[in-house]
């Protein structure tokens, strides 16, 4: 059922400058399924833009293999470079829309001319191009600004024009490289919801590059985390949020900072002073809630007192995800047993101070 629309195999991108070489992307393999919203997160400089620019070959890799929508765009696995022919690439690029942080509209052309520019080489007649451009502007809610110049629009409106332009040739993939990063929160949400709508209605595959986890949280199905040119973790959104393996991922997801912040606050307020028989743990659970009886059970069966100090719940992909910060008190042996029991209940247990996930 699921079909790969983007296949990146061992992609490396190296920039050679006068006195240094920068390995912006190192041996990255990434498959993206048709119809997915795939988030790629990481700090600035991680190599996200360089990696996604390989998808439409705005950036030619140094080695690896890139197959997009069934077409081989690039291959160099044995020192022989095979690159898709320029004319063909031009046509294929029209099926891969891209939006940017700074919109990159043509400033000297009106909103509707910007969309028409994308249709310049389509097989449509002049009249059809004009009406298609208007339809696209309707789709993004900007038909009444068709004759305005980009500088007369707000950032959110400009990005919507950019989306209309990117969709002009009915692409199957839309890449957003920090497409919401220059927008205020309200516009960010509008654009993200528009992308989600396009994904639902047109079956558009969306590649969402961002350094803002909130964007990914709102619409992504799957997530990859990048650091220093490498993908360090991939998974579906829920997994990444509830069960991240990597410290950086947790940092991004916010569990790291939320928990350490919670603990620091409590410590500072002298509300928590962990004795030898106490520890602070985070319980993350999906779907159902941690029932009170569980806390009672910990006391009755394991002689462990659990004290809830902080709780939080979020909705991810329509599923509630809860986090509880709990101080457990009891002997080392009993605490171990209690934690083992919690994990058997499909609860993810994280020791807060060290930020380590218990394995078991």
């Amino acid at each position: 059922m699921t079909e790969k629309i983007i296949e990146l195999d061992n992609i490396s991108v190296t920039f050679k400058q006068k006195n240094q070489t920068i390995e912006a992307v190192k041996n990255v393999s990434l498959d993206i399924n048709r119809g997915d919203i795939y988030g790629i997160v990481g700090y600035s400089g991680a190599g996200k833009s360089t990696l996604v620019r390989v998808i439409n070959l705005l950036q030619k890799p140094t080695s690896g293999k890139a197959k997009i929508n069934g077409d081989l765009f690039y291959e160099n696995t044995d020192g022989h470079e095979k690159v898709i022919e320029t004319n063909k690439l031009r046509k294929k690029r029209r099926k891969i829309g891209m939006i940017f942080q700074h919109f990159n509209l043509l400033n000297e052309q009106t909103v509707v001319q910007n969309v028409e520019f994308a249709l310049k080489h389509s097989s449509l007649k002049e009249k059809e191009i004009a009406s298609k451009a208007l339809d696209l502007l309707k789709l993004v809610g900007l038909e009444d600004r068709a004759n305005a110049y980009p500088s007369q629009l707000s950032g959110g409106q400009q990005q919507r024009v950019a989306i209309a332009r990117a969709l002009a040739n009915d692409p199957e993939i839309l890449i957003s490289d920090e497409g919401t990063s220059a927008l205020d929160p309200k516009n960010t949400i509008q654009i993200l919801d528009l992308l989600k709508r396009l994904n639902n209605e047109l079956g558009l595959t969306v590649v969402l590059i961002t350094h803002e986890m909130e964007a990914v949280k709102r619409i992504a199905d799957r997530v990859a985390v990048m650091e220093n040119g490498e993908i360090i973790e991939t998974g579906n959104l829920l997994d990444i949020f509830t069960n991240a393996k990597h410290k950086l991922t947790r940092e991004f997801v916010g569990t790291e900072s939320a928990s350490s912040k919670a603990l620091a606050t409590l410590k500072a307020a002298k509300l928590v002073q962990l004795d030898d028989d106490q520890e602070c743990i985070q319980l993350t659970y999906i779907g159902s809630s941690v029932s009170e009886s569980l806390i009672v059970k910990l006391y009755k069966d394991f002689d462990v007192i659990a004290n809830i100090i902080y709780g939080n719940i979020e909705i991810l992909q329509g599923t509630p995800v809860g986090a509880l910060f709990v101080i457990v008190k009891g002997s080392v042996e009993n605490r171990k047993k209690a934690i083992k029991f919690l994990k058997e209940q499909d609860i993810i247990v994280t020791k807060v101070e060290e930020g380590e996930v218990f394995n078991g």
């Binding site: 029209r94 509209l105 043509l106 400033n107 520019f117």
Partner: protein
């Protein structure tokens, strides 16, 4: 009125409207030289300016050899003082125009004198186009000519008008020197008939006419640059 003018500007009146040394031919020669060398030098400058931007290392057709060729030619011609270029280029002028002196002959050194200046200005104007816009166009499958005409030239049009204005004004300055090879014009009027004959009034009026010409070019250029700019209103 006319009597008063004749009293204070006797030499101006002496030159007369028409004929050898007349005002109308002088004005005509300046306009002629400015117009045609702007066309020839302008085309040459545009080609070199566009070539420089496209073949630069971050351009859309990076090619070190071609870039370096454009760059060297432009630098070479820019380095030659115009008054020396007039003489230096004379054999070439002879080949192209058939004579080394006169107004039409002056078009060759004028075009060659103004094009490197214009090429550099065009280069700077085009380089001011945001690279992101070019990438966006490429991501839409734009062709080479789309990028040159719809992106580079159109996006930079206001900036191009501005540098064209500057270039035209300096070209008017160069035409004044072309008198040295018998090209006539207002510059020649100011020197040959004014300065050399101690006719200060002639120099004054010739200068005034050049100033009016420069001012008009500036006003029209500023107006167009403003009207054609939608970047940041």
């Amino acid at each position: 009125m006319a009597e008063l003018f004749a009293k204070y500007f006797p030499n101006v009146v002496y030159q007369g409207w028409n004929g050898d040394g007349g005002w109308l031919p002088a004005i005509g020669q300046t306009l002629y030289m400015t117009f045609w060398s702007a066309i020839f030098g302008g085309i040459l400058g545009l080609v070199f300016g566009i070539g420089l931007v496209l073949t630069d290392s971050d351009g859309i057709l990076p090619n070190r050899g071609t870039f370096s060729f454009f760059d060297k030619v432009v630098s070479f011609f820019r380095a030659i003082p115009f008054i020396i270029l007039l003489a230096f280029i004379a054999p070439v002028t002879q080949k192209i125009v058939g004579t080394q002196i006169g107004t039409t002959a002056a078009l060759v050194p004028l075009s060659l004198g103004v094009f490197p200046f214009y090429a550099r200005q065009v280069q700077v104007a085009l380089a001011s186009v945001d690279h992101g816009i070019i990438e966006a166009a490429q991501s839409l499958g734009a062709t080479f000519s789309d990028i040159v005409f719809d992106v580079y030239l159109r996006e930079a049009r206001s900036e191009l008008i501005r540098v064209t204005t500057v270039t035209l004004i300096s070209l008017i300055g160069l035409t004044a020197m072309a008198g040295a090879i018998g090209a006539g014009g207002l510059g020649n009027m100011a020197i040959a008939y004014g300065y050399n004959r101690f006719a200060n009034d002639t120099t004054f009026v010739a200068t005034l006419l050049v100033l009016i010409f420069v001012l008009l070019v500036q006003l029209i250029g500023d107006f167009l640059a403003r009207v054609l700019n939608h970047k940041n209103i």
